[in-house]
């Protein structure tokens, strides 16, 4: 039982990572009907940016020689801002010109896939294969609650995911910008006629998604400090599965899907050889898409004749 609960805590942590990335996939898909396949790599970029920012700020080697607490406090917003810049740049130079030309949606998806490859391999080519380690920014505290060990970092990750979810939910359902985002997903062409600036809504969406991915990348790097260029690929795919399982385009879906997938994975890894983990994750995806093609929260599609 204790073992099971301990695994649940691990699942919650992984679920938080998946949810943080999945939210970005879902936001962009919800607004543009575009699968931003580069998003997993934006997460990786977030982790690297967190590394550069924190080593730059931290004493003793850093330029500024800040204390750990201050570095942590500054790295979080800086990473989020810088990562969102990366996301917006992708939108600006790769996706927007294509969408303007009215290219087929698949072309934009392929472009996104290629952007992801460029981010991964460009990183590897520029920074080399040496692995980087994020400096320790948070002293590890282990709390024991009835035989289950929980670190403060894990709590922070889970808390961050919940807070981000609540914040995004608020933005999308309660603010003017959120209303505009939902409007874009309904009818992109009617929007300018209603006086809503399409480009600003799209940029805002990418800022939100990438900033959240940046946060996820940073928290991931704090939990698993060794960074490598392909770290975003697999995690990104998994997060994407989570988004789809929940019903892509639905914020609740990304959140629930993230935890669901993490739970399946952690339990498979706990009771079966860990090599079966990916097999199960992808089989779950295949099965859900087969049986319920629009995910848990997605609305079923109907053909109109």
């Amino acid at each position: 039982m204790e073992f099971f609960l301990q695994q649940c805590v691990n699942a919650l942590q992984w679920g938080s990572f998946y949810a943080l990335i999945a939210l970005g996939y879902t936001l962009v898909y919800g607004v543009l009907r575009l699968i931003n396949f580069a998003h997993g790599d934006v997460f990786m970029v977030g982790a690297y940016l967190a590394f550069f920012v924190s080593t730059g700020l931290l004493a003793p080697e850093g330029l500024f020689g800040f204390s750990r607490e201050l570095t942590l406090a500054l790295t979080i917003p800086l990473t989020m801002i810088l990562t969102s810049l990366v996301g917006v740049t992708l939108e600006r130079i790769a996706y927007r010109p294509l969408m303007r030309k009215g290219a087929h949606r698949l072309y934009v998806v392929i472009t996104a896939l290629m952007c992801g490859l460029i981010l991964e391999n460009g990183n590897l080519a520029l920074l080399g294969a040496s692995r980087r380690t994020l400096p320790v920014l948070l002293d590890k505290n282990v709390y024991h609650i009835g035989g289950i060990a929980v670190t403060n970092l894990k709590l922070m990750v889970i808390l961050a995911a919940v807070l981000v979810f609540l914040a995004l939910h608020f933005i999308v359902t309660r603010t003017r910008m959120g209303m505009a985002m939902r409007a874009v997903s309904w009818d992109r062409f009617a929007l300018p006629l209603m006086g809503i600036p399409l480009d600003r809504v799209v940029v805002f969406t990418f800022v939100l998604g990438s900033a959240v991915a940046g946060l996820g990348g940073m928290l991931f790097a704090m939990s698993y400090p060794v960074l490598e260029p392909y770290m975003g690929a697999m995690t990104g795919w998994k997060a994407f599965i989570a988004a789809v399982v929940g019903g892509i385009g639905e914020i609740r879906g990304a959140f629930v899907g993230g935890f669901l997938l993490a739970f399946v994975e952690v339990m498979v890894a706990a009771f079966l050889p860990s090599t079966f983990r990916d097999l199960f994750a992808f089989s779950v995806l295949l099965f859900i898409l087969w049986q319920r093609p629009t995910g848990i929260f997605g609305k079923p599609l109907t053909a109109k004749i």
């Binding site: 010109p97 072309y107 392929i110 795919w237 995806l285 898409l289």
Partner: protein, 358 residues
């Protein structure tokens, strides 16, 4: 006679190629590149059936190549060689040149069956969601292969070289080149004949208006199964050839990167154009091989001009930055690829006088 000019020319070119290889006048490296060019042609043309003609976005074609590669390898090891896995050969090794098509056929059939993994969900699912299913299928296939320890798991599988050697023992020919050329011919003929028949045009009908297709009497589910199975089956053929050329297979060589290569070739050539995709497959293979030389030159050149910081070397990884970048630029400036959805004979109608297609 004139109507067959290009047909004859192509056959002569293939024969000349085999002849050159036979006479050892081709560099071993050049020979390998040409063989891979052929394999890429099969891979791309088969993917084109789904991505071009059917208008679905399959990005897991590498998975079917993987099935073909493994099944082909296992069959030829079981058929012609003495192995730990299967024991004594089922057939005399001297029969290898005659029974090798059986190996290829078995590999294709197995890959076609694996295609059902995507074909069945495609009844209810289209577009993005189907794309995701294909990716999942790719990962699932790789993951299954890696979890079967008997065929090497993540270490890969080898032993097919002995079967190729058995063929060479029978007669000293560039066997893999010959099989690849035959494979290309079979693949192109299959797709071309299929897509010019009313039966195959059902695929285009499903692509362009599924509702109309169903109402006008096209069994859309059957068409989807057929298209996915033919496509994955031919992908498996490419895989089986690949495995025998290399003499070693590893599931990870058929991951999403391989599938992406296929996508690059199809979109470079033009969706739904066999000749365009063939051109693209050749061009792509040449580009990848050229980068192998260009990157070191570029590195030396930039260092000579001191444009690069000392201690930083341009590595071959840049290849995987340049290739995606090429595709992105292509999507921006020439999204229809080389030929769009037209064939060479439609772009240059006068070619029709010189070629006979049946």
């Amino acid at each position: 006679m004139r109507r067959y000019a290009i047909n004859i020319l192509l056959c002569a070119a293939a024969l000349a190629l085999v002849g050159l290889a036979q006479a050892d006048m081709l560099d071993k490296y050049v020979l390998t590149v040409i063989t891979f060019m052929g394999i890429n042609c099969i891979f791309a043309v088969s993917l084109n059936l789904v991505n071009g003609y059917m208008g679905e976005f399959s990005c897991g074609h590498g998975g079917f190549m993987c099935v073909g590669a493994y099944v082909g390898s296992l069959l030829s090891v079981a058929f012609f060689t003495d192995s730990k896995l299967f024991g004594a050969p089922l057939f005399a090794p001297e029969l290898a040149p005659f029974l090798f098509p059986l190996v290829l056929l078995g590999a294709s059939l197995a890959a076609a069956l694996a295609g059902l993994l995507v074909a069945l969900p495609s009844f209810h699912t289209r577009d993005d969601y189907l794309a995701i299913i294909t990716i999942a299928a790719n990962y699932i296939i790789i993951s299954i292969v890696e979890n079967i320890d008997a065929i090497g798991g993540p270490r890969g599988f080898s032993g097919m070289k002995k079967a190729v050697n058995a063929m060479s023992d029978f007669a000293d020919c560039p066997w893999m080149l010959i099989w690849t050329l035959i494979g290309v011919a079979v693949c192109v003929m299959t797709v071309y004949r299929l897509m010019t028949s009313t039966y195959g045009k059902g695929v285009s009908a499903v692509c362009q208006n599924e509702v109309a297709a169903e109402i006008m009497g096209v069994d859309t589910n059957r068409v989807k199964i057929m298209a996915f199975m033919v496509s994955s089956g031919l992908g498996g053929l490419a895989g089986a050839l690949y495995a025998h050329v290399y003499g070693y297979v590893n599931a990870q060589s058929f991951n999403l990167l391989k599938s992406t290569e296929g996508l690059v070739m199809v979109y470079l050539g033009g969706m739904g154009s066999i000749s365009g995709v063939l051109m693209a497959a050749v061009a792509f293979t040449l580009l990848v091989e050229a980068l192998r030389f260009v990157i070191p030159w570029l590195n030396d050149g930039l260092h000579a001009l001191s444009l690069l910081p000392a201690g930083y070397e341009l590595s071959q990884i840049w290849k995987w930055v340049i290739i995606p970048l090429t595709l992105i630029l292509l999507m921006q400036f020439r999204p229809e690829g080389f030929l769009g959805n037209r064939e060479l004979t439609q772009v240059f109608p006068r070619l029709k006088r010189w070629i006979t297609l049946k």
